[in-house]
């Protein structure tokens, strides 16, 4: 009896050996970045131009022989374009290592929803994929082969993430974050902008603000840095202050940002930001020796600069009518009158006031006084 069962099991299990349809790694090409545009052809304006940057597995990853394969295809939808691209490849196109999705400028000015839906619906595309806007179009960004790139697509991936460079001008946006911002009440999508600069450079220093569907405004590099300061902890950055009589650079060692929404009962609300930071002096342009009082004066000047820049940026964001930081969600989450809070916020938003309290301390003068 027992032997019979064992034999039966062995026979059954052998059936599953071939059933897996597993393709070997040398028969796959891994998509590392996708770029999606609207085609330039005016007749095809409502179609999609999909660019896939693929890496082919090779023996030695340390050599720079890793050429990438780029395929571009135009079709009525993204899946269609990918099916067409598949017939151009001899290998199985594998999306499970795709780390960057670039939305072309032509697309973000139109509508991003179908792509957001597609990328989060597909099971093999990660939710921790980076999303960004490509300028002048996604194709050029994805195609770009920078000098420093050792592995296909790696320049883009390292640039957008925080493992490689840690620029204060880059805001990392993951696919799941984009997806939640598209649906959330009181929180709007954002994406960093990647610009392809010829001959071989990728510049990421701006931030695109979206309403739920398309891009509305672009923040300049300076504004992007302040935005990052306002929305993250421990920003790695230096700042320059050019006040009367003083002119210096300092390097931020630690920073913190908090905000709370005050009021709201009488139709007026104030958003109070509290920034605090600890810094070390990096350059003193005036050249005089930095004594204690001078250092405290510098701290004050730096704080005032933050206050000015911060309030300016917040007003700019308010003027666009968008909510990239999630003030609306904060308001809803702190109010228990769930039936009316959205109406209330809609009324409050245009008249919001902003106060930035900057508590900046330059603690060290560096190696010299």
């Amino acid at each position: 009896m027992k032997k019979g069962i064992c034999c039966l099991l062995a026979i059954l299990l052998s059936g599953t050996l071939s059933g897996c349809q597993f393709k070997d790694i040398d028969k796959r090409s891994f998509v590392l970045a996708i770029g999606i545009d609207r085609p330039d052809d005016p007749k095809k304006r409502d179609q999609f131009e999909v660019t896939l940057k693929m890496g082919i597995p090779e023996g030695d990853p340390t050599k720079r022989s890793q050429e990438s394969v780029v395929i571009t295809e135009v079709a009525e939808s993204v899946p269609e374009a990918i099916r067409l691209a598949k017939s151009k490849m001899d290998k199985e196109v594998d999306f499970s290592h795709c780390k960057a999705l670039i939305y072309g400028e032509s697309l973000v000015r139109n509508n991003i929803t179908p792509i957001v839906d597609w990328s989060s619906r597909r099971r093999d595309i990660q939710l921790i994929m980076y999303c960004a806007v490509g300028m002048p179009n996604a194709k050029e960004v994805v195609q770009m082969q920078t000098k420093s790139e050792r592995l296909p697509g790696n320049a883009l991936i390292l640039g957008l993430g925080k493992e490689g460079t840690e620029s204060p001008y880059i805001k990392t946006v993951y696919s799941y974050d984009l997806k939640r911002r598209v649906t959330e009440r009181g929180l709007d999508p954002i994406m960093p902008i990647v610009e392809a600069k010829h001959p071989d450079m990728l510049v990421i220093d701006k931030l695109a603000l979206f309403n739920k569907k398309k891009m509305v405004t672009v923040l300049s590099p300076e504004e992007t840095r302040i935005y990052n300061l306002l929305t993250s902890h421990n920003l790695r950055s230096s700042f320059r202050v050019d006040a009367e009589g003083t002119s210096f650079d300092y390097n931020l060692e630690a920073s913190k940002s908090r905000y709370r929404i005050q009021g709201g009962k009488d139709g007026k609300a104030v958003i109070q930001y509290t920034l605090s930071g600890r810094a070390v002096l990096e350059e003193n342009t005036v050249g005089t020796s930095v004594t204690g009082p001078v250092m405290r004066g510098y701290s004050k000047a730096a704080g005032e600069k933050w206050k000015k820049d911060g309030e300016q940026l917040l007003k700019k964001i308010q003027a666009t009518g968008l909510d990239p930081i999630g003030w609306g969600l904060r308001y809803y989450s702190r109010n228990w009158n769930n039936a009316t809070e959205q109406e209330d916020w809609k009324r409050l938003y245009p008249n919001l006031e902003f106060q930035v309290k900057a508590d900046m301390e330059i603690k060290y003068t560096g190696m010299i006084r």
């Binding site: 099991l9 059954l12 059933g19 897996c20 939640r180 649906t183 989450s333 228990w336």
Partner: protein
């Protein structure tokens, strides 16, 4: 004979496996209409049921549900009830299994045939659930010790991520004062129903001592809140509803930057695969023993070991047939129906247990 800490393992097992058994699904669906009050209410009810069941079964030392029922109830009723509960426990295992087949196809490989996956699961559970109750309890302990640290690690990772949106969580919390719904209540009490497995495992307990009983409501409430609120923190108050397996999507949203693999998803999958299989084995073991218990003679003579396959093979076949009929939506509905009926069933069992206790007290 095992010590009474194993009750807590049984509890923890069910509490951890809730993610697979569609508990987050119903909580997320009702997040604006009573999920949170249901959670608090169910903590209360669940603890009460837990206490009530352990209290009543304490009186029947070394006896499982079949022995208790056969001794105190009319033969016809005890037969009917045992068959009913056997079906019920098998169903619990089937839902965990089917849900995991679906997850495997979705996240690991859509190319593999679902029959191959379910066949593997069925073989494993069928063979393992015939082991002795004691071996299963020991296996449960070992695997929980292996798996719990990984789950805690992933949770810590989830909470310290700056992208975790506490505002979204707070926004859901503001829907506290809504009327609880039966469906979400039935879902949330699932966490506590691990004690239910004592129905068979009581045979192996020396005596049931419930020390540190306060841990049950505290741990249960915490697990429920985490189950419900972490996906909200990652996918937003509105977006969370769009994810079919909200916890797997959440695991996919967490990164391990400096590990061999970057996606937490795969770690999460393997961890929960272990848990799901152990839970299925546990449930099928209880189901099998109850089934055999229904055919037990008054003197306690059990049907032979060979009869196991006459129960397991039909249930395995039924699993495959059910899987054929299901799509993603129907599977979710089936899971919900199971949760709904399970809650009523638990209350019924509670009533029967109290009746049985009364009867046996009168006899002696």
């Amino acid at each position: 004979m095992v010590s009474s800490k194993y009750i807590y393992y049984l509890f923890l097992m069910n509490a951890l496996i809730n993610i697979i058994n569609f508990v987050p699904r119903v909580l997320v669906f009702t997040r604006f209409h009573g999920a949170l009050p249901s959670i608090f209410l169910s903590t209360f009810i669940g603890t009460l049921l837990f206490f009530g069941f352990t209290y009543t079964i304490k009186g029947f030392k070394g006896q499982g549900l079949p022995e208790i029922f056969n001794a105190t109830l009319p033969r016809f009723f005890s037969f009917l009830l045992l068959i009913l509960y056997a079906f019920f426990w098998f169903m619990a295992g089937i839902i965990t299994m089917l849900s995991f087949v679906d997850i495997t196809l979705r996240f690991i490989s859509p190319d593999i045939s679902s029959y191959a996956v379910i066949l593997g699961f069925l073989l494993l559970t069928s063979i393992c659930c015939r082991l002795s109750s004691e071996s299963i309890l020991y296996a449960l302990e070992t695997l929980l010790f292996l798996v719990t640290p990984i789950i805690v690690y992933m949770l810590v990772k989830a909470f310290i991520n700056p992208a975790f949106n506490w505002d979204a969580v707070m926004q859901v919390v503001t829907f506290m004062w809504t009327r609880p719904k039966y469906v979400s209540l039935a879902g949330a009490t699932f966490i506590f129903s691990g004690y239910f497995n004592l129905a068979i495992f009581n045979r192996n307990f020396k005596q049931i001592k419930t020390r540190h009983f306060w841990m049950i409501p505290v741990v249960g409430l915490m697990i429920l809140l985490v189950t419900f609120l972490v996906p909200v923190g990652y996918h937003g108050t509105i977006g969370v509803e769009e994810h079919v397996y909200s916890w797997f999507s959440t695991a996919d949203s967490i990164r391990m930057e400096l590990f061999i693999i970057e996606r937490v998803l795969f770690l999460f999958y393997t961890t929960y695969l272990t848990l799901a299989l152990v839970s299925t084995v546990l449930h099928w073991h209880v189901g099998l023993e109850l089934f055999k218990g229904a055919f037990q003679s008054k003197e306690g003579k059990k049907p032979g070991k060979k009869m196991d396959w006459w129960v397991l093979v039909p249930f395995s076949a039924a699993t495959i047939i059910i899987m054929n009929f299901l799509d993603q939506v129907r599977l979710g509905q089936l899971g919900q129906w199971f949760l709904n009926i399970r809650f009523l069933n638990e209350l019924l069992l509670m009533g029967v247990m109290f009746y049985a206790k009364g009867r046996s007290a009168k006899k002696t």
